[in-house]
Structures are given as structure tokens and as C-alpha cells.
Symmetry: C2
Subunit: 204 residues, 2 copies
């Protein structure tokens, strides 16, 4: 999801998105995308393994963003606080895509096969975040759990952002992070322990 | 991942696991699995869409477990406390599979294609958990975040359990849940705010 430039790769992305939106993902062929971009199929396959991957081309940049942000965090004693700025920055990348970013979200939301591809990409992002936290000395399972929570935040925020044209993705990410404590607390913060509390604490 | 019974489905699962372990997933054909179970390919395909799905056949029971546990939770004011017993119960299902459960974990850990399939299944489980929480009145994004955290806990616990032959999966799930607060807190619990805290809170 790097910003689309008018180079071959960027032209292919733009052409693909236009065709996906106009005629649907299934109905669009690589040949059509290449033709629309004024290129040939061989050039397409130099940049993307298949047509769906046009929508997920920013994976490496995204993983580098997480790795760099966590490596440079002044403090990892609160691991999510070290990861959160990268989740917000990932949201800002989405925002910079403008209308194409909105179209991308709608395409994914409407297409289970793309959601599956997204789920697979999330596994790699989570592994990257966990590794970066471990390198900073955050122990497992905390590092692994923080990584899962971070990709969960992004996923939840992305769907919410898709349903709200008035806000930026970065803003929705920040709001979503602010709800994380409430979502993952395992016992009440006020003295109101009920059966649910006992159930969560049984065993150890 | 229901307990394997000596019915056709159970025999196919047992045969598949034996062959996967002995000769590898890629090298095993549906015909071989059916033959070993004393059945034919048509019977196999009545139970499973493909050979990989033999390893993920308990999906519906798992989703029902989450739905039922959350529906019957006496209290959802701490949403994760309402979901946690179901995550532990899912761990107990794994434990009841015995050595076959261990083999299953090792197969998945060694096979990226199976990890992808698992990631896709997790999306469905998360959607089920979120829906069950929403029905109990837990608002989004909290419901969605709790769901992501719950499937994240199971994923992290499953990998840890795979590396520790001495413990039950249910036990590792409980321990993992106990680390969740630390992993998802976005600001220090003690007054030790550093730059990471400010970064996490910037914006709103």
C-alpha cells in the first residue's frame, strides 16, 4: 500500500483498481489490467504474482514500518505503547491513498477471498511485530499477544473506517486503540466481581 | 476437532493423520486415506472438501461452543471474562485428542499452507465471538476487539503448547489469558510515563 506513483507498478495498480471497481474482481483479467496500463502481461507478473496481489502490494513496507518503529521506540516497558504509533502510521498510509484507499476497502469487504488473503497477510505482520518486540527484550507470551492485539486493532479499525466516510483511518485506529483495555481486561476494574470473574480466573 | 470416533469420519481422520505423519501432507492422497480407512474416495468427500480439511473438521462445534458460552455467561460487563471459559474449553477439546492432537499441532506448525488455512478459520471464529457478544449488548469496537484478542490468545497458546510436551493446552490457555492485560495495556499502570506513553496517546 505504498503511495501509487505513475511508474509501471503504480499504473498497473491504478488500472487494476479501476477495472475491479467497474467490472468486478472475478471478471477482470491480468491481460485487461496490463492493457489498460499500456503494458504487457509479462510486466504485470514482474510486479505482482497475481491480480489479487495488486491490492496487497505494500506488505513489505508495512512490515518494515513496524520493525523500525518498534526498534526505535524509546521505551518498550508498555509493549502496546511501543507498537501503537506504527498502527497509527499504517492508518496514515491508508489515508494517503485517498479515494483508491476507500475503493480498496470496499473491494475487500465485499470479497471473502480477499478477506482470506488479508488474514494470511496479517499472520506475517503479527510475526514481524512479535519478532521486533522480542529483539527489544519483551518476553513471550506478552510479545506474541501484543502482536496479535495490534493486528486485531488494525483489522477492526479498517472495517469501522469503511463504514464511516467522514473520518480518517488514522483517527479510527487511535479510537480503536483507546478501547483495547476495556476489550481485553479479564476482571472488573471496580469491585463488582461476579461469576464471570471467577470463571476467568479458575485454574491459575 | 470433535473427539474422534470409530465411525467413517473418525476412521478417515485417524487414517489421514497416520499418513500425514508418516509420509507428509503433500505426499498423501485422498485415495490413500480412504483406502487405509477401508472406505472409498466418495465417502471421503462426503465428510471433507479436501485432505487438509481433515485437520479442521471441528470448526462448527468450536463456533457453537463460543456462541453457547457467551450466550449463557451470567455477566458480560467484562467481555473477555465471558469469552475466556470458552477459550479454555476449546483448549480442553485439544487435550482430549491426546497424541493425535499433538501430531495435529506439529503438522500445522511445520506447514505454512495449513497455517494459512488456520488463519482463515480464525476469521470465522472471531466473527462468531463478536456476534455473540453483540447479541449480549456489548458494543463495537469492544466486541470486535475482544473477539480478536480471544482468537489471538488461542493462537499464541497453541504454539506455546506445541513447544511444551509437559502441559495441557487448557493450562497454557489459562496462563496466556493471564498475560493479556500486560500485553494490551496502552499506558503504564505505575507512574512511569515515558515518551512511549505520549506517543500512544497522541491524537485523541
Amino acid at each position: 500500500m505504498a503511495r501509487w506513483q505513475p511508474d509501471a507498478k503504480g499504473r498497473l495498480q491504478e488500472a487494476a483498481m479501476e477495472l475491479f471497481v467497474r467490472q468486478g474482481l472475478e471478471e477482470t483479467t491480468v491481460a485487461q489490467i496490463a492493457e489498460r496500463a499500456g503494458l504487457n502481461k509479462r510486466t504485470f507478473f514482474r510486479h505482482f504474482p497475481d491480480k489479487r496481489d495488486v491490492l496487497f502490494s505494500g506488505q513489505q513496507a508495512l512490515e518494515e514500518l513496524y520493525t523500525k518503529t518498534i526498534a526505535e521506540a524509546p521505551d518498550v516497558s508498555v509493549p502496546m505503547a511501543a507498537v501503537a504509533p506504527a498502527v497509527v502510521a499504517a492508518g496514515e498510509i491508508v489515508d494517503r491513498l485517498g479515494e483508491q484507499g476507500r475503493q480498496r476497502q470496499r473491494l475487500i469487504a465485499a470479497n471473502p477471498a480477499l478477506q482470506e488473503r488479508e488474514a494470511i497477510k496479517r499472520v506475517a505482520v503479527a510475526a514481524t511485530i512479535r519478532e521486533a518486540l522480542c529483539r527489544r527484550g519483551v518476553p513471550d507470551p506478552v510479545a506474541a499477544l501484543t502482536a496479535e492485539a495490534a493486528v486485531g486493532v488494525f483489522k477492526v479499525a479498517y472495517a469501522r473506517w469503511g463504514g464511516d466516510e467522514s473520518r480518517t483511518m488514522a483517527d479510527v485506529v487511535r479510537e480503536t486503540i483507546a478501547h483495547l483495555d476495556r476489550a481485553t481486561a479479564t476482571h472488573p476494574t471496580e469491585p463488582a466481581a461476579g461469576p464471570a470473574r471467577r470463571a476467568a480466573r479458575s485454574g491459575r
